[in-house]
């Protein structure tokens, strides 16, 4: 049970929690948080895979991949957040599948 295996497991746990959160949570903002969690989990597993057993030979390629991944996830999150605000503003519904409160059905093909 060395620490590397423990980190892998926590990365996996993060991915699972994120996946569960993305599917189950109803508020859009929470879904995006969950998506970020998932990608952090994946990055953790990648980096743990990178550092070899003898602590000296570090494989830089996963580091580069994770860097790219972080920048990609920040850009998707930015667009997602702007979209959430727009969806909330126009259809007044932060919860994706929930009907609008004021009677007018949240028809998707308005």
């Amino acid at each position: 049970m060395n620490t590397l295996f423990l980190y892998t497991m926590s990365g996996l746990a993060l991915f699972a929690i994120g996946l569960h959160g993305l599917i189950r949570s109803s508020h859009l903002l929470r879904k995006i948080l969950a998506a970020n969690l998932m990608s952090s989990g994946v990055f953790l597993i990648m980096i743990v895979g990178a550092c070899g057993t003898d602590q000296v030979m570090i494989d830089p390629v996963p580091h580069a991949m994770v860097l790219t991944g972080i920048v990609v996830s920040v850009s998707t999150t930015a667009v997602a957040l702007v979209l959430v605000c727009l969806v909330q503003e126009t259809t007044n519904r932060a919860l994706l599948w929930q009907k609008r409160k004021r009677g007018q059905g949240g028809r998707t093909d308005a």
Partner: protein
């Protein structure tokens, strides 16, 4: 000594998923975002423990800092929207965001919920077992990278991989960032905030003090990137932090930035990267094949250009919309009545 660090690792490794669960299970969104920021910081600590300093820097600056700032500004906008919504409904109690009673939400799809949970657990266990089985692939491409470091023109392995061996990935990644800025600008326009909001003495001095320092630190990070942890992304992230500070302090100079200059700043990094990539082909080499021994110089040139662009782009993402039109405040065209040419069918 090792067991103390080992103990710290165990605490850290357990803290991450626990924090993740608390984050998603918390009822208040603001608390979720704050937990998310602290999770980001813990993550950067983990990267340090796993000997990935570059990633730690990036995670702290972009993962926790900027993403957290994005979430906070989005949360504020959602609060303002639901507040105006509430004023219309003059609902009495401050409206919790989880307005639907929990049991209604749970009842929605109990079967699907149990099934998805079961599938998830099985998948995780299977994956955990299989991850445990196979040892790391003997350092993957590490030895290959170490072997080629001589021609890469830089000392730091990560920067070599990022900008030389797999430079094409970074070029496309710059395009992703540019695309995000395009997307945000195409979706909304920045609200005409009240001009006169005075930032207050402390914030003004803080900004005046910190912004120049941040720019120096960003330059230092880009410079040091060739040998130790650092590089374009980390430098760009610090620049973005300076940009966010300026936006927060609502400094008038930010308002007067001409739109054309802003667009060129956004485009500068990817454009120069693309042009240098094509220029390398001029000398008979392949795409992105830096001629002769001058790889180091080219990489530094590209890194500085991209750092500036990344800084401006991330700040623009934080601003959350294209700059308000300097001329007469035309109507917010998203909701313009328009002749409804492309309104949906009158079903």
């Amino acid at each position: 000594m090792m067991d103390v660090m080992g103990f710290f690792d165990i605490v850290l490794a357990l803290a991450l998923p626990w924090l993740g669960w608390r984050l998603l299970a918390s009822s208040d969104l603001f608390r979720a975002v704050v937990l998310f920021i602290s999770l980001g910081l813990l993550m950067s600590l983990t990267w340090v423990r796993l000997q990935a300093p570059d990633v730690a820097l990036a995670e702290a600056a972009i993962g926790a800092g900027l993403t957290g700032a994005l979430f906070l500004s989005a949360l504020r906008r959602l609060e303002r929207l639901s507040e105006s919504e509430r004023r219309l409904e003059h609902a009495g109690k401050r409206e919790e965001d989880e307005t639907i009673p929990p049991e209604k939400r749970r009842r929605a799809k109990p079967v699907a919920y149990v099934l998805s949970l079961f599938l998830l657990v099985v998948f995780v266990l299977l994956l955990g077992w299989s991850l445990g089985q196979t040892p790391g692939a003997k350092g993957g491409l590490g030895p290959a990278v170490a072997g080629q470091m001589g021609q890469s023109g830089v000392q730091s392995q990560v920067t070599a991989v990022l900008l030389n061996f797999r430079g094409y990935d970074t070029l496309l990644e710059m395009m992703v960032l540019f695309l995000a800025a395009l997307g945000v600008w195409s979706l909304t326009r920045v609200r005409q905030t009240q001009q006169g909001e005075v930032p207050g003495p402390v914030l003004a001095t803080l900004v005046r003090l910190l912004v120049p320092l941040m720019i120096i630190v960003a330059g230092y990070l880009v410079w040091i990137g060739s040998s130790r942890a650092g590089g374009a992304f980390q430098g760009g992230a610090v620049l973005a932090a300076a940009g966010v500070l300026l936006l927060l302090a609502n400094v008038t100079v930010v308002r007067q930035v001409p739109a054309g200059l802003l667009r060129w700043a956004l485009v500068l990094g990817p454009l120069l990267f693309l042009l240098t990539a094509v220029a390398c082909m001029g000398g008979g080499g392949n795409l992105l094949e830096y001629p002769g021994q001058s790889a180091g110089v080219w990489i530094l040139f590209i890194e500085s250009a991209t750092a500036v662009s990344i800084g401006v782009t991330l700040a623009a993402l934080y601003a959350g919309g294209r700059p308000p039109a300097p001329s007469a405040p035309e109507k917010d065209n998203e909701e313009g009545p328009g002749s409804g040419v492309d309104k949906g069918g009158k079903a």
